[in-house]
């Protein structure tokens, strides 16, 4: 296996292995809807985590309101169906674009803010959208949500759709970070004022980062509508279950790394699922109650001891592990 050099980025041999594995493993679990469902969720979080990571990890604009874009994407797929019977599948095209438009509009407000104020501003915008979509029943059917009978009963076709979206997300981030825009994103993250002094139109590049990020978040939202067949504002605009979990996925995997959010998504879904299922029934039942607690503790642990996340601090982790083995061996 060799690295494949494309015009805008390289697919290293490790990445080729990852891509192959993400095809083969789900095929092995062809007849387990449960496992397929898990893989689909992992991929969805890869999309959300990576999209957040571009804006927050690489551009330094820590969004606490990514649910806004996920949610608007979901509704972009769902609303035309509800009102005019247009297939939600069009959402895969329109969801991302709608999210970009929303991102641009909200950006007019939130990009006036910096640091923690930006975080609060994005959080507030997402919450306002959640409330509006819950209240304007004539438009959104309110908390009753939108129901759609899913196209397929089998899950594996959905898996390959979200798999393709996830790959597109990760590699679009990778390509961007190898380009002029990527350097500009990093410059803005490190020092916005110094970035201006070397000729960077920081406002423009923050918007570019926002656009790409929200596009993928919106597309993930549209996919959610198609796949789940049901959305309501409390689910798709959720502060904790979407916005916050997106951030935590990024942090655990490693902010500002290409594959960090993907690793974070795998860890998040697997840890929660292992505990939820009480290690597939092998452990005592009460363990299933603490699945989210374990994830919270993991977050605290990572922030305290591996600020760079699993991918960002990988060298450090390997070094520690070697030392540990050495100690054992010498004993």
């Amino acid at each position: 296996m060799k690295d494949i050099n494309l015009k805008f980025f390289t697919i290293t041999k490790y990445e080729q292995i990852i891509i192959l594995l993400t095809i083969i493993i789900p095929l092995l679990f062809y007849d387990s809807p449960y496992m397929q469902g898990l893989f689909i969720f992992i991929m969805m979080w890869v999309v959300l985590g990576s999209s957040w990571n571009l804006l927050a990890g690489y551009t330094g604009q820590v969004s606490f309101g990514h649910a806004a874009y996920f949610g608007i994407g979901a509704y972009a797929a769902g609303l035309p169906f509800m009102h005019w019977g247009i297939s939600p599948w069009w959402g895969l095209l329109t969801g991302g674009i709608t999210a970009v438009v929303l991102g641009y509009l909200l950006g007019i407000v939130v990009f006036k803010l910096r640091g923690p104020y930006f975080a609060l501003g994005t959080l507030a915008t997402a919450e306002i959208l959640r409330i509006i979509f819950g209240q304007e029943e004539w438009l959104t059917n309110g908390h009753n949500g939108i129901l759609y009978v899913t196209t397929w009963v089998d899950k594996y076709p959905y898996y390959f759709i979200i798999w393709a979206i996830a790959l597109a997300t990760v590699f679009s981030v990778k390509a961007l970070m190898k380009s002029k825009a990527g350097f500009y994103f990093l410059s803005i993250r490190e020092d916005e004022d110094a970035a201006k002094a070397i000729g960077i139109n920081t406002h423009k590049y923050k918007n570019i980062s926002m656009a790409v990020s929200t596009f993928w978040a919106g597309t993930a939202g549209a996919f959610y509508m198609i796949y789940m067949g049901f959305i309501d504002p409390e689910v798709v605009f959720a502060l904790h279950n979407i916005s916050i979990i997106t951030i935590l996925v990024g942090i655990i995997g490693g902010v500002g790394t290409i594959w960090g959010p993907a690793v974070g998504a795998i860890i998040m879904v697997l840890v929660q699922e292992l505990f939820r299922s009480a290690f597939f029934g092998l452990a005592p039942q009460w363990i299933s109650k603490v699945h989210a607690l374990v994830f919270g503790l993991l977050v605290i642990f990572v922030i305290l001891y591996m600020a760079g996340g699993v991918v960002g601090d990988w060298d450090l982790i390997v070094k520690k592990f070697r030392k540990f083995r050495l100690k054992k061996a010498t004993k």
Binding site: A56, G57, G60, V62, V109, K112, L113, G115, P116, Y117, A119, L120, G121, L123, A124, T125, E127, I128, I131, I132, G134, Q135, R189, L239, H240, I244, I247, L248, I251, V255, G256, K289, V290, A292, L293, F295, G296, L297, V299, I300, I303, L304, A307, G308, G312
Partner: protein, 291 residues
Amino acid sequence: MEMVLQSLVSGLLIGGLYAILGIGMTLIMGVLKIINLAHGQILMVSMYITWTLWYYLGIDPYLSIFISVPVIFFLAEAISKYLLNPLIEKESILPENQVLMTVGIGMVLVELARSIFTSDYRSVRTAYSDKVWHLGKISISFPLFVAFAFSLVLTAAMFYLLMKTDLGRSIRAASQDKIAATLMGISSEKITIFTYGLGSALIAAAGSVFLPVYYLYPDVGPLFTIKAFVITILGGMGSTIGAIAGGLVLGIAETFGATYISQGYRDAFGLFIFLVVLVFLPGGLKRFTKV
């Protein structure tokens, strides 16, 4: 006219409750320079402590302040000492690391509460829970009034502490210029730990007083966290008077909005005001009061 008055009174009373939330947050934001996204979750823990004391031992919620406040104070000091302060020295890509840590802490607190108490709604029924005073055609809920009066007392006490005592002066010094404060012999580490404890103790007290008014469930926290930062931004970071003003403004805005515009949008009014203030009035109401 009566409706206006009634809205105003209810708004003021709720605003009083919000003011305590705001003072706790404004202290923490002013000194630690972080947004404490575990704020409402700490309030939630205090509410569960109060509820447990009432349910199992029959202790009146107002009395349990004497237990919930010290418990939360020490819990928060431990959080600050072992989880937040160590991050100051650590290099990380995102400067918001401490904020993210409070998210993790909040999540753990919620999930702990959920695994102990389940997700069921709880409330405290006391003799005075539904008691209402009537002033002409205006009604005043007794528990809300107690909470309001209590918040006034607490606010006055905080004001005294911050303005008149050495400890308060150290806190204010640290919130204005950490380095200068350190040079003057104030241990900034101790002050940050103490401030986080104090801010949390304030919301612990709020929790005990809120319980007769609000339902309790593990996810109740974020609602209050958001209100707290709305108040803080509205009033101006680090300003006690600002927090009180912010609390009252939020309370009145919510009540009037709910009465005259839409009940469903109740929680959105604050957020909207918040965005407007962030963008157009950075510094908040503090600009006008200068305290």
